[in-house]
């Protein structure tokens, strides 16, 4: 198994679409997923680096594991459902604390998924057929979370982490709205995050103490005289 050079963790309430986002990015497909148990991870080759992407379980039962998954993470992608305000609130209430174990220079991205379900998504419904558009709207729900809310959360996170806004990527740049179902901005999200993770990896490699034990360091102990065949 190749040892990953950096880690990206997806966090968020259950059923916001973390697994689907990752699946869309890695497998280029959207399919119904079952509730993630525990966690799963993928390796992504990004330039010369291997980045591991951890998909965590959103269920409360597994929240305890989040802190371990986040340990040493270079980036955390906080995911909510644009149609559920609660899912955004949960990010602050439950998930933010789990990121304490992440790397000190960890970057944060906030992602509102499922924009395909709301009526005012970025790709407007077909304007040429007004009667159809109206019909389409009826099946769609009103978006509950605006991008501004996500940006506000991002700024709260910076305060919580005691980071200066000048030292980190701008909030507008780090708040995304995606649709795993249509693939809308999914690649953009992951690629933006990866590009930001690479400098962190480079820095960690340059300064961080080696995390592996160097077996060449081993000094053979003196043989004791008590050995049977000595």
């Amino acid at each position: 198994m190749k040892k990953p050079d950096g880690k990206v963790v997806l966090l968020g309430d259950m059923n916001v679409g973390k697994t689907s986002l990752l699946h869309r990015y890695m497998e280029r497909r959207f399919q119904d997923t079952v509730s993630t148990v525990g966690g799963a991870f993928y390796l992504k080759q990004w330039g010369p680096y291997n980045i591991s992407i951890w998909d965590t379980a959103g269920r409360e039962q597994f929240h305890g594991l989040g802190s371990m998954y986040c340990r040493g993470a270079a980036a955390v992608i906080l995911t909510y459902d644009v149609n559920s305000l609660q899912s955004l609130v949960e990010l602050e209430d439950k998930f933010l604390a789990l990121t304490d174990s992440a790397s000190a220079d960890c970057i944060f991205a906030i992602v509102g998924n499922k924009v395909d379900l709301s009526d005012d998504c970025a790709s407007p419904p077909d304007e040429n057929r007004p009667e159809k558009a109206v019909a389409g709207c009826s099946s769609k729900v009103r978006k509950q979370v605006r991008v501004e809310d996500a940006i506000a959360l991002y700024k709260k996170i910076l305060k919580y982490k005691m980071l200066d806004e000048k030292d980190v990527p701008a909030a507008e740049k780090m708040c995304f709205e995606t649709s795993a179902k249509t693939g809308y901005k999914v690649d953009y999200l992951f690629e933006t995050v990866f590009d930001m993770v690479v400098p962190i990896i480079v820095r960690q490699k340059a300064e961080g103490p080696p995390q592996t034990v160097d077996i060449t360091d081993y000094k053979p102990a003196k043989r004791t005289k008590s050995g049977c065949c000595a």
């Binding site: 990953p4 148990v37 525990g38 305890g64 594991l65 802190s67 371990m68 998954y69 004791t224």
Partner: protein, 863 residues
């Protein structure tokens, strides 16, 4: 799901342990090599030898032979057993005390060494001391929240460290200095050397028994919430995704690449590679599951069983047989570290190939291609699936055992034409990709022939590209196939590639003549002409020249005129032969002669005269014809004129004879010009053609590269023609005036003035006169300047001569020549202006060799 990864085999039956005494239960087990130890609730230790037997059918059984049993003398159960084979000691935990007994006779060590107050203990499998005759033991002490580390020797024990934990520990595993602890509410990693601890994740030990298991260097497997098997490293991070067990797991063991877990009803097997559950074995009342040096042992209260892993290769083949390619590949890759490198590579390649064929059969071509590529598949395996594609001469035999279950494509597609076409398209693109790579080495013939067959069958345009570039198509096989599919043009290309140009041409000629049908090229005739042009076999060129010229003499003549330069240099084709061959084809003949005269610039009178005569003939014929071919005539006339003007080789009188009596005045004028009979020529131009402009041009081009006098003579001649007293044509006078005024420099003014009629006014000739006077003055002054300069130069030389003659030059034996360094033997010498003295012959040589300006040396001879 459902790989058969393990088989459950009974090792120790209940009769061997307890007979019919139902109250006796198995408490713990230990296995070390062939030694199996069992501890019971009635304080007995049993020692068995375990023998593995493999039946002829490959079935593995175990036979346990009881060695001895020993009663420890307490009323307590034996709770844990651990062997330290290096010390031949068995560590026995009973009644909170660890005693050391001999592994063979189960007698306690004479020293009575023991560890008191242990709730549970574990051995450090990655010891830090480096002493091979010592094991490191970690215990959870009966003291609250206390872990103790001991060094255990053959007959003594020594405490190393005591650590206090934040909560009561209930399970522990050790790796080096790292303790992985299950506390009351969470798992932690604790470095007992530095005291630094790292929280892993919360866990409620009241609800479920925690599991802490070291699974390898610096990595542990832990029972997590929701029945998860969590992996954690000593750094407190997870490098593998968790496996999902049932909620009530009792024990877990590792047998790479599988994690085996035991619950109340089942043994479950998960792969560490993809985290999926692979096998479930029903197993009731199990309560112990442990792995000992790769051997997984499971026990109920009454019996001991061994989980025998099936060979990985067998597992992989089973997966492939059920078309589970992904899993098979993951397993194969995971097995890399358990199999010797060479063996693994052979096995893995084969698996990749097999997997490739499975994907291929499902028409997953992209995946198949990648697998074939990485598995370095012998392409012929794939080709051989397609009927008739491999050449009959191919020595290929499919590998055994077979890589797939298909006889051929018909069976694979079950006759579905659409699928068949897709498969063929895939093979086409695949062969095209690999044919130039090293995969093709050794059987390029097979690949190219197969590709040709596919292209021909599918009417694919790349067929021709294949045949015109480097290829290894086998002639007989390919020819038969192309003929079958009526690809005659391609067949011709194949013949040509194999050096059989005659056969190729025969086919193509047949196609052009419509004897056989092949619409590949609509311009096949031009193609054949081009082919013959570059054909080095001249017999073939001669053979088809008639046919080519008959079809179209103007295009066909290219076979002679556009031959490659290198052949022209060798001059293999005799022009006379060609000309006689072209006698029947006048247009072709002219083109050929033009080629000889104008392009190749052959300087032979014969060809030049012939070409001129042919032009003339054609022109006269066109002129006599009724139809008005004005354009053609003019074109020919221009060509004739250009030839007559530029060439000096043709027989002038011969042409002149032919031209006489026709109205080709311009041409006659040119011919007269060639004969230096300028007066006649100019007469024709002025009087017959009345083309003054042409007359002037005549003067200019006839005097090209001649001296000024010649040119002046010509112009003067023209002037004389204009001013011929016999005619008093006003136009001629005007022409004369214009000529003088426009070309003042071309005349000798004195002669002109004699010729000009007295009646002309000065006004009329003023531009000429002004020019002439200016010219005359200019000439005079230039001459004066030249004279002055020459006199000055002369004076300088004179001065130098006088200066050099002024002083005597002494020549003695001691003086040597500056060039050859030899003394002078005769009085003659050369002295350079700088004073250097040399032999006369040395100076002469030096003059030859270098360009010393002549005037810088002066020679004198003195006695």
């Amino acid at each position: 799901m459902s790989v058969k990864a393990f088989k459950l085999v009974s090792a120790v039956e209940r009769e061997m342990l307890m007979g019919d005494k139902n109250h006796i239960n198995i408490e713990c087990i230990e296995c070390c090599g062939k030694n199996l130890y069992i501890g019971t609730n009635d304080c007995f230790i049993y020692h068995f030898m375990l023998d593995e037997k493999v039946s002829t059918s490959g079935k593995i059984t175990f036979a346990a032979t009881k060695q001895l049993h020993k009663y420890l003398g307490f009323k307590k159960p034996v709770s844990e057993l651990k062997a330290a084979s290096a010390l031949t000691r068995l560590l026995v935990l009973c009644d909170n005390t660890i005693t050391l007994v001999n592994m063979m006779n189960l007698e306690p060590v004479p020293s009575g060494a023991r560890i008191k107050g242990a709730v549970t203990f574990t051995l450090n499998e990655n010891p830090v001391s480096g002493d091979p005759f010592c094991v490191e033991v970690c215990i959870i002490s009966v003291k609250r929240r206390t872990i103790q580390m001991f060094m255990v020797f053959e007959d003594r024990v020594q405490i190393v460290k005591e650590v206090v934990t934040p909560e009561q520990p209930c399970a522990v595993a050790v790796d080096g200095y790292y303790l992985c602890l299950a506390l009351t509410t969470q798992y932690i990693i604790l470095n007992y050397n530095t005291g630094i601890s790292q929280d892993l994740f919360p866990y409620c030990s009241d609800e479920k028994r925690p599991i802490v298991k070291r699974i390898g260097r610096q990595e542990f497997l832990l029972a997590g919430p929701g029945g998860l098997g969590m992996f954690a490293t000593v750094d407190g991070i997870s490098q593998r995704a968790p496996v999902h067990w049932s909620e009530n797991v009792i024990g877990a063991a590792l047998c790479f690449p599988y994690v085996v877990a035991l619950d109340e009803e089942f043994i479950t097997v998960h792969s560490m590679l993809d985290q999926q559950q692979k096998q479930t074995l029903p197993f009731k009342e199990g309560h112990i599951l442990q792995d000992f040096e790769g051997k997984v042992i499971v026990a109920t209260n009454k019996g001991v069983y061994i989980l025998v892993p099936l060979p990985l290769e067998k597992q992989i083949q089973d997966l492939l047989a059920s078309h589970r390619v992904e899993e098979a590949l993951v397993l194969a890759k995971g097995a890399r570290r358990n199999i010797p490198k060479e063996k693994f590579q052979v096995m893995y390649k084969r698996i990749l190939q097999q997997a490739g064929f499975i994907q291929f059969a499902q028409l997953q071509f992209l995946e198949a291609k990648e697998l074939f590529r990485s598995g370095q598949l012998d392409v012929r395996e794939l080709i051989s699936l397609y009927p008739f594609l491999l050449p009959t001469s191919s020595s290929f035999i499919r590998s055994h055992p077979p890589l797939h279950e298909y006889a051929d494509l018909n069976q694979l597609t079950q006759g579905d034409q659409e699928k068949m076409i897709k498969c063929k398209q895939f093979l086409m693109s695949y062969l095209n990709e690999v044919r130039s790579t090293e995969v093709a080495n050794g059987y390029k013939e097979d690949i190219d022939t197969a590709l040709l067959k596919l292209y021909a069958e599918a009417n694919h345009e790349s067929l021709l590209d294949l045949l015109v570039s480097e290829n290894f198509c086998l002639l007989t096989d390919s020819a038969a196939w192309l003929e079958k599919h009526k690809k005659y043009f391609a067949l011709g290309l194949l013949y040509h590639y194999n050096g059989q140009d005659a056969a190729a041409l025969q086919l193509w000629v047949q196609i052009v003549d419509g004897d056989i049908e092949d619409s590949t090229r609509s311009d096949l005739y031009e193609y054949v002409v081009d082919f013959l042009t570059f054909c080095s076999d001249q017999d073939l060129v001669w053979k088809y020249s008639e046919w080519v010229l008959q079809k179209n003499e103007e295009v066909g003549v290219q076979i002679f005129t556009k031959r490659p330069l290198e052949e022209q240099e060798k001059n293999n084709m005799n022009p006379d032969d060609v000309i006689s061959c072209l006698n029947k084809y006048p247009k072709a003949r002219i083109k050929y002669l033009e080629h000889l005269v104008l392009e190749r610039k052959i300087e032979k009178e014969k060809y030049h005269t012939h070409l001129a005569a042919l032009y003339l003939e054609a022109i006269l014929q066109l002129k006599s014809g009724t139809t008005d071919n004005c354009m053609e005539t003019i074109e020919l006339l221009l060509k004739l004129r250009s030839l007559l003007q530029k060439s000096d080789l043709y027989r002038i009188h011969f042409i002149l004879d032919k031209i006489r009596g026709t109205d080709l005045h311009m041409e006659s004028a040119i011919l007269y010009g060639k004969l230096e009979e300028h007066e006649k020529a100019l007469h024709i131009l002025v009087h017959e053609l009345k083309d003054f402009r042409a007359a002037e041009e005549y003067c200019i081009w006839n005097s090209e590269n001649r001296d000024l006098q010649y040119r002046r003579r010509l112009f003067h001649m023209l002037l004389s023609v204009y001013l011929n007293p016999d005619s008093s044509d006003c136009a001629l006078v005007m022409a004369a005036v214009d000529l003088l005024n426009n070309h003042a420099a071309e005349f000798d003014a004195a002669l002109v003035l004699q010729l000009v009629p007295d009646s002309w006014s000065v006004q009329l000739l003023s531009p000429f006169l002004a020019g002439a006077v200016r010219q005359s003055i200019h000439t005079k002054r230039m001459t004066q300047v030249a004279l002055g300069l020459a006199q000055a130069e002369n004076l300088i030389y004179k001065y130098e001569k006088v200066k050099h003659k002024g002083a005597p030059i002494l020549l003695s034996d001691k003086k040597v020549c500056q060039v050859c360094q030899n003394p002078f033997c005769e009085p003659a010498f050369v002295r350079y202006p700088n004073g250097g003295v040399v032999h006369t012959h040395c100076a002469a040589n030096r003059h030859q060799n270098s360009n010393v300006t002549p005037h810088s040396s002066s020679s004198s001879s003195e006695t």
